[in-house]
Point group: C2
Chain length 347, copies 2
């Protein structure tokens, strides 16, 4: 049987309340008492019972990560999870996970979840933090949350990077390589990331002095397959792009796949770049030029902030984090003669 607070109190010659104070880092404990308690606790290998603590303190010491039901290989969620776990280490808090089906009634699902497990705080992975209905309901229920989102419409606490600027920079990179027809594979409708990256694409075109051509923007949904379909559509255009900026790496990989299917050489015949810097993007050949997002760190910071907001509501904030453009082998200078078209016609 593990030691209880009473055992420690007895051994240290203090009351249980003093032991409680030490373990909760409450003020007004003398140095002497603290030392004795710590020694006694160490000797008895005392660990506070989380259930008792939760029950008495009316808190769950739980942070839940809410994320979109992951299709195979959404490695960013895994990275977020690791970040959340890192943030919980050496706190009394514990992480819980909750996949959410956004196509169903997510608001009800969140409510049910919160009612059942009573987490003290939520961390909302993209695109959950972009969903106003959910945020508002959480506000109503008076539940603390932190959004991982480039620019949450609503969340006061969170973390994110300037996806719009990053996307613009990516397009400028392509422009600097001489590309004048740059396609975009857009993200899934409803995701903030779709809007920001698309807006950044347009910013980039503008900065490079190019006109926006609607036919060069094709809908996708962040999946590999949608990347294939979108690339197909773009490459079948009468005047196809010489470069494609996909809204994320998965769809960029799909686009690469389609290019290979057509016998293209990358980047000779087509430059492709993505967004996110998933592990796969460094491993495909050629390596995918993309925007690096420090997902693990984002998960950690989002959690740290929301935990901070429990202690000091005013101190917590939205943290803007920096990104990095990773230039790998999938983007290169445009060729003088448009071989890509020639190849296409031989198909």
């Amino acid at each position: 049987m593990p030691a209880r607070i009473e055992d420690v109190a007895l051994k240290a010659g203090v009351s249980t309340k003093t032991v409680s104070r030490v373990f909760n880092r409450e003020p007004n404990v003398s140095e002497k008492a603290r030392t004795r308690v710590e020694a006694a606790a160490r000797e008895l290998s005392y660990r506070p019972n989380p259930s008792a603590r939760s029950l008495a303190g009316n808190r769950s010491y739980l942070v839940a990560l809410l994320f979109d039901n992951p299709h195979a290989g959404s490695s960013y969620v895994m990275e977020l999870i690791v970040g959340v776990l890192q943030a919980c280490e050496n706190t009394h808090y514990n992480a819980m996970l909750r996949p959410l089906d956004l196509s169903a009634d997510a608001v009800a699902a969140v409510e049910e979840f919160v009612a059942q497990f009573r987490p003290d705080a939520l961390v909302l992975a993209p695109p959950i933090g972009d969903d106003l209905k959910i945020l508002r309901r959480l506000d109503d229920l008076n539940i603390r949350y932190s959004a991982i989102s480039a620019r949450s419409a609503h969340a006061r606490i969170g973390v994110g990077l300037d996806e719009r600027r990053a996307a613009a920079e990516m397009v400028e990179h392509l422009a600097a390589l001489g590309h004048r027809r740059i396609g975009h594979i857009a993200g899934r409708a409803g995701h903030g990331a779709r809007a920001w990256r698309l807006a950044g694409y347009r910013d980039g075109l503008r900065k490079a002095g190019m006109a926006y051509d609607e036919s060069l923007v094709v809908d996708g949904d962040f999946t590999f397959d949608s990347g294939i379909a979108a690339a197909r559509q773009l490459l079948d255009l009468r005047d196809p792009p010489t470069a494609i900026f996909a809204a994320n790496d998965d769809s960029a990989c799909g686009a690469m796949h389609e290019a290979f299917e057509r016998g293209f050489s990358i980047p000779r015949d087509l430059s492709i770049c993505g967004f996110d810097d998933t592990p796969a993007s460094a491993q495909v050949w050629p390596g995918l030029t993309t925007v690096h997002q420090p997902c693990r760190e984002m998960g950690r910071i989002a959690t740290e902030q929301v935990l901070l907001s429990i202690r000091e509501p005013e101190a917590a904030q939205t943290v803007r984090i920096s990104y990095e453009i990773k230039i790998r082998g999938s983007t290169g200078p445009i060729r003088a003669n448009s071989t890509s078209m020639a190849l296409r016609s031989t198909r």
Copy 2:
């Protein structure tokens, strides 16, 4: 304030104990009582308080998934997690995650973790279930666990597939394509998967009537980079292999990468295959021939079994699950003339 068990009891006109019985599916509750309690609970939106329940019942209702500290992109852990979460749905159990640093004192880490959070059961992701020291300590501490492992040396409960047979089949596939020099990139030392897949590789050679050539087996550690290094070593041999069976997909992708760097065409100049069927393996070009492991299902089953063992210790068992060889574009028939060598020499 949420409803308490007392509120439900009052409304249903029974004692709190009866309500408790209904919610815990205990026997000896009359149909009438059950119906009334359920109605009252629904009306009050009653949810049992998990902390109170744990405290009084001396159980945590927690299942913890222990996994090796994930390097970037170990998507199988994510799949396992989803499976574990699936198994917890509609039970009173809740999943916890615990990354473990196997290079440090993992036994102590597990002990500390268990002492602090008191999970009712553990699910051990590979390669944790292969670690005898950990298993024995858990036995000593009398902690229920389930191992995800092809052939755990020790665990009575778990799930796994016959990796050895799968590996042998993979090699036979290569042999059927005409390959007579088949290299192997081995997994990380200490992982059961390394041993089983290597043994299967040898089985496959034997079945195909080929001799085992030590020089064709190179150490790896399941990472992309180790795949690059190992492929380098294999392709630099005086008489290099015409096919490489890598112990997992990440290292197979590394091998592909190295082959491309040398200007090889796959599978014309070199066949490559892996193990696991990570999402990336379907997305690289050409698609990677590999062994499909249903990770999500394995996580679910491992969890279901260990939860079952709480209710019925004798009913739980080790479940053997079936694999599937996925033949994609990265393996093909051997060419008559050994172009791969010619290409290599021009480098």
